[in-house]
């Protein structure tokens, strides 16, 4: 197998506070190969965005990586200096944020913002940077891109702005894209377009992508593999068909059962009782045990062991077996 574009090795993020240290990301490991889209799902506060920010080095102090490694194309980047990291951001890792309405500088034209980013990372002339900017806008589906270069962000609709944001994130041709809830702030009809666009760009460029979302529909549509996060920990990771069809971790199972599906004629959605623990009140053992229907004594003492292979594993003492799920 080729070297993965992104490897997280036991990544842990700590936030020291006056009342003790919080751990929003705890011992998370995964690989993303070139051309692969890893969907990262979980409830709000599960550590999805925090993981993305840790990868690109944009954690807000005092949050910091306290253990583990981030490898980009085999190269360790979590110990890079700020100056080194600035060469990685935009150039090798592109990032797209949730809200396209606030992601663009309102006082600069989109052409200025694009050329500025291109000139920063690529050794090209100004006119060539403009040409690449127009090409980038074209690629993300901005109509008559050449004429729109001088337009300001407020002259675009929300969906168009997110296209501009994607063009900006990808204009220096990064090998990894981190998309942090890229469709959450958009209309449902526009969401599908943006997802299709991201999918196409990943396939065309052979780019790895980490797609953070809490929308299972988006995941099922887009991702090749899915990582399920719960209270900062990786609950389960595996191919999308398995996560959706045969989840092994009870949390994933609960998450899937509580997702409405248009086709299924379910009378009533199942719900997971309780709420995710707050970071300062993490239970001992498996973080999910207070809400878990399968929890037993040892779940309350020790976190679940990682069962399965590197490609598909769940962190659980009593994972749901296949025959059991079928029954």
């Amino acid at each position: 197998m080729d070297m993965p574009v992104l490897s997280l090795r036991n990544l842990t993020v700590d936030i020291p506070t006056r009342h003790g240290t919080l751990r929003p990301v705890d011992d998370v490991s995964w690989d993303i190969a070139a051309g692969e889209i890893l969907g990262v799902v979980g409830e709000s506060g599960a550590g999805k965005s925090m993981t993305g920010n840790a990868v690109i080095g944009l954690l807000d102090p005092p949050a910091h990586i306290s253990a583990g490694e981030v490898l980009l194309e085999g190269e360790r980047i979590d110990n890079y200096t700020l100056a080194q990291m600035r060469r990685v951001r935009g150039k090798r890792i592109g990032m797209v944020f949730q809200d396209p309405l606030t992601s663009l500088n309102p006082l600069l034209t989109i052409g200025e913002q694009l050329s500025e980013t291109i000139l920063r990372h690529l050794d090209v002339s100004r006119s060539e940077a403009d040409a690449r900017a127009i090409q980038g806008l074209d690629e993300v589906g901005i109509p008559s891109a050449r004429n729109r270069m001088g337009a300001y962000p407020h002259e675009f609709s929300g969906g168009m702005r997110q296209r501009v944001v994607i063009a900006l994130a990808l204009c220096a041709e990064p090998t990894l894209l981190i998309a942090d809830e890229p469709t959450t702030a958009l209309d449902v009809s526009v969401q599908a377009q943006i997802i299709a666009l991201l999918k196409r760009l990943c396939r065309e460029r052979g780019m790895a992508a980490m797609l953070v979302t809490h929308d299972m529909g988006v995941i099922a549509e887009t991702a090749d593999r899915v990582a399920v996060m719960y209270a900062g920990r990786l609950a389960e990771i595996g191919p999308v068909s398995q996560i959706v069809g045969q989840p092994r971790h009870p949390y994933t199972d609960g998450l899937m059962a509580s997702t409405p599906a248009a086709s299924a004629g379910q009378a009533r959605l199942r719900q997971i009782p309780g709420a995710m623990p707050r970071l300062n009140r993490m239970p001992d053992g498996c973080a999910f045990h207070p809400r878990c229907p399968r929890a037993q004594d040892k779940c309350r003492v020790n976190p679940g062991p990682k069962v399965g292979t590197a490609d598909e594993r769940a962190a659980c003492w009593f994972p749901i077996e296949q025959d059991e799920a079928a029954a």
Binding site: M85, R86, G90, G94, S103, P106, L108, R120, H154, V165
Partner: protein, 325 residues
Amino acid sequence: MLAYIIRRVFQSVIVLLAVGLVAFSMFRFVGDPIENLLGQERTVQDVERLREALGLNDPFAVQYARFLGRAVTGDFGISYRQSRPVSQIIAERAPATLELAFVSGVLALTVGIGLGVFTAIRRDGWAANIIMSVSLIGVSLPTFLIGILLIYLFGVQLRWLPTFGRGDVVDLGWWTTGFLTSSGLKSLILPSITLGLFQMTLIMRLVRSEMLEVLRQDYIRFARARGLSAKSVNFRHALKNTMVPVITVTGLQLGAIIAFAIITETVFQWPGVGLLFINAVQFVDIPVMAAYLMLISVMFVMINLLVDILYVWVDPRLRIDGRHT
């Protein structure tokens, strides 16, 4: 865009008419000018003749219109005290005040914006903390006290700088300038610091708080996530977005610098229009006071107009010309 400016100009004219009314009212209600012009030995006929000659018996509206008509052509009458045209007296004094205000304004803007950006970027640094603490002095100490302290330190104790007057000035015919001689420049230092210190600290604190706000915005985060240099993020992306509120306050403060030069000019015996006004008040020299009032209001109105136009220049969202539709 043009309609926007025309509307603003129209509003400015209305403001000036209102101020003109106030200035004009001073003639009518702050004592009787006849009393000032004629001495104790006067007859009723003398008074009546002078009233008729000065047009004081005409209806209020007619007198106001006459006052405005003259004011537009720069004629504010004759100073009671100096018996010379007010416009001439003010023209002599204006360069001193304008030069002082100009230096103070430039000082306040450059140092204020510079320190504001610095203290915002190095939010928790020791240097930023010291600057913030010291800036409290500028905000809280009254101007005259700062002036007197500076005079005491640099004029009396260290004897480095002159403490009053403009020094040697060069007469360019229509303008007298202190910029061309070393004593003129030296004389500018203390008064301009005194006059500009409050504005400097105000602008600095404003830029800092606006900048801190802007640095939290998503587009700054996105700019960082694109790997842009610190210089580009801080100045190209962040500073420009702090400019709209800063321009508003700065514009008003520049007007204030000219208007409140009165105190600084008094402390430093600076021969400008502020000192002229203080003297005029002491002698109830109403034509001078009225002219000063009009002059200051014209400046405020012009600065406000300029500020409104600057907004549009800085913030494309305010451009309503539909260039890209």
